[in-house]
Symmetry: C3
Subunit: 379 residues, 3 copies
């Protein structure tokens, strides 16, 4: 996306070697594309992973905050001691959202008749009912707070401990400055993965970045992941300042920066390393379906940029970088929402993919996704 | 809701004695709740009753006014002589609403091609057609005007005369001052009945009224009605001025005010009597479904307050009472709309009711409601 | 609509003689109306005709413009040489709209990954793919530009050459001044035809035109068309200035202007001729369904008024005529949208037509329409 360089991928990624054709794409496939396989846009995200459902700062001490995962309402409660827990956001009594309620010590009290639940979802008080006759409670979700994000495990709770949380190494490293990105995008999560991984879409950003030519120089696929390496060549326009802040100065064919985009289900990362192997940019991103049809996702991302030698230079330039990335993300949001709108209208996936990396990615998302089918209707 | 007092219910209501448990609620029931019975939220209101469809002042002389009952469009016409009649709001010709038309003497003329109907719905003129060849007309509804409300009988017209209209005794009594309340609320009418009858929901109004503890001290069920008596104890906060205007001064356990909430299908009343048996507050209220799915109702209520000894004191305090009741009703509206939203999302009634009065009320609404099932879809 | 005159239809239209009853309408028919025939509001417009999809000025040189025909997205591209072509508005790759793309010489380039199509829909470039491996392209539509309108043939392209385009004789004639009319109206196209052809709806425009009485004085039906002649008598109010600008001065029963409204499938015309046979007003209009349910149409019309003897008089009066026609069209739009809303609610056509001309018109629209049935749902 940003750098121009020749590739020396062995210094970066000593992974599975892949035979790559001279050009970055394979021969065209029959137009039918994914005939016989299920429609990717109707594959639900798999619930047996940790998903970020809110930024830490959104859940204030002594407050409750309502979120959603694939249509399921979940309340995040930060108790008076500062702990966070996650429950089904629905009082057992009359199903009104608990997030409209009142945090009471380490518990949450429904706003309507005052039914009260602890962090395990147990009902511990009904004001007008004897303690010995308390009704059943509500579902609790495993919940952890990492790197300023509140993660919830919406699937089988017995699997929660065995599933790793993301590491966020660059976020914790003071050599990097991190920007937190988040917005709602009205599309299935799969469009987001495909957008970021297919760097041939630089044409979309021609107004922000000039004419950049991406070149796919390696790809790998393994258990639960797909990744691809790119180098870039400028074919027209000037390098924008927002881009130059971070990456190698325009060096024509001699620059050596390489970008690796990786989907490790269900997350995605984009890393840029300089010719010497230094990680100069590290993006981690997750796309969390909000509604039951999974036609809207909330994006949570951390974008870490390595600080240059000169102290404070990056801080000074930060507003420009924010502006630049916002412009890029706005264009991406608009285009994926157009893709979703087209799918909704067609009632089927007519995608005609010619780029092998994206074909691999689509297979991965299908294989790792939930086993059910999202019921949707043609609009 | 308002008063604190010990109960002496025999002075108030010499009705069916009911064994009441020491606490106001019974032992918890199986979570399944109403298994095997039909979903109350899909029970249509029974059309064979008189329903208020507009305030008298909304239907001006020589004007037509369009309203709805459970999805059926109805036009209320006030003729030049001041009478009101009600017709199907749909011209027989091309089905455009008659309320967009023109009142012509004692008839209504469609705005499009001028077809004209009298109070019985008969077509009495088509300007470009001979009188001897007039087409059929439209349906007429029985219609009466009482206490500033226009009532329509949407069901079998043969039953209209045998069904009583509400009495509105306090509205007519000059010892009372009456406020008219009305608004649209986006929920099934049953949530409205349950909200008003379950005074354990005082927790919802804690910001308006402080912590009030309702105590159910008697309940009765008979043909077409359910009712319950409450006394109240303040557990925290101060008595608000809006409340004190009407009810006994804070008197701790010695006050004797008692509130009776009664659903007499399809209406509801809430009355407060002092220890001496004087009716100090008299609320009559009806919830009229507007749409075919009966997910929105328009509330029509008359709230009558007995004038205190000092002349004009109530008039001076009236704005405060208006403000106070508006705040209370706003909280109630928000919560019942949350209940409806939860039901819509779930596609079923997951209500887990533990309060016997409300269980009785739910049975009553099911038994008295229409025999069909509202077809709804999970959203 | 405008003139008052006795009829001398032989000077105007020497067509099929029709026995007309003394009054302008026939005896009332059974209320059931069109029992046994298909619901006209569910008859799709027939695609094997030329439809205007945009005004020429909307498609600027070097720009693409997205339009719709009955739910099908179509992009109109004006190339750098000024030609216009029409394609399916959906990139073959990921189905995003081509109208968001970039015109490149005589071709259109998708904004996302830069896939490029020529005027025949052939894919002529994928920037990251060898020319020898180009994928299939997109559908192209026959497209012609006439009288400031861009016409597209959405049906079977093999029939395009044999179907005539409208003539627009008055638009090209300098003795006439032409106003272009266009707006979206939220109804099935059939309501538009019926509205214009049934001049008994003058009652609707009573505030603009006073009380005018239309008299049907002749009607004809032939292969693919229905037409009707009217004269008008003023029964109340004064002739408005906007109307007098164009038509005979109020002359009571002696004026001889006659209006002919004609549906020549799928278009409609309204022409007014003076007693001497001069064409004083010539309206051509088409109603193009936009959505798949054909519940919204875009109207394209040309209204040509013959210039009077005094030079510039018409130009000076033009703003008044614009204002007058806008008022009339606004009332028509509101009423046909009410008709559509009633149909949507009822889920069926309850029309009870008593006017023979409109019955003929409805038969014509059913016979000439598409063979499929628009799937709709009761709302």
């Amino acid at each position: 996306m940003f750098a121009e360089s020749a590739l020396d991928r062995r210094t970066i990624e000593p992974a599975v070697p892949v035979a790559e054709p001279p050009s970055s794409v394979a021969a065209p496939q029959p137009l039918a594309g994914d005939v016989g396989v299920r429609d990717l846009r109707r594959v639900p995200i798999h619930p047996d992973y940790w998903y970020p459902l809110a930024w830490s700062k959104e859940v204030k001490r002594g407050k409750a905050h309502g979120v959603r995962f694939a249509g399921d309402p979940i309340v995040l409660v930060r108790t008076e001691s500062g702990n966070v827990f996650a429950l089904e956001d629905r009082c057992a009594h009359r199903q009104v959202p608990l997030h409209a309620g009142v945090v009471d010590g380490e518990s949450i009290r429904c706003c309507y008749h005052g039914w009260t639940y602890d962090c395990s979802g147990r009902c511990i008080d009904v004001p007008y009912l004897g303690k010995e006759r308390l009704p059943n409670g509500v579902r609790a979700y495993p919940c952890k707070e990492v790197a300023g994000l509140i993660f919830v495990f919406p699937g089988d709770p017995a699997l929660a401990d065995s599933r790793p949380l993301p590491a966020f190494a660059s976020v914790a490293d003071r050599q990097y400055k991190t920007r937190r990105l988040g917005r709602e995008v009205k599309c299935h999560y799969s469009f987001m993965h495909e957008n970021l991984m297919d760097m041939n879409h630089q044409f979309l950003h021609r107004r922000q970045m000039g004419m950049m030519r991406a070149r796919s120089v390696g790809r790998r696929r393994g258990e639960g992941f797909v990744e691809v390496d790119y180098t870039f060549t400028r074919e027209g326009g000037k390098q924008p300042v927002g881009e130059a802040l971070v990456f190698s100065k325009d060096g024509g064919e001699n620059s050596k920066d390489v970008m690796t985009v990786r989907t490790v289900y269900p997350y995605q990362t984009l890393q840029i390393r300089s010719g010497s192997g230094t990680l100069v940019m590290d993006l981690w991103i997750a796309y969390v379906p909000l509604d039951a049809a999974q036609r809207t996702n909330r994006t949570f991302g951390t974008l870490s940029i390595r600080r240059p030698g000169l102290p404070f230079a990056l801080d000074l330039a930060w507003p420009l970088l924010v502006w630049f990335t916002e412009r890029i993300f706005k264009e991406d949001r608009e285009i994926v929402e157009m893709e979703q709108a087209a799918h909704d209208k067609q009632g089927a996936d007519w995608n005609h993919e010619v780029f092998p990396v994206i074909r691999d990615l689509r297979d991965l998302l299908r294989e790792c996704g939930g086993r059910t089918v999202i019921p949707i209707q043609k609009v």
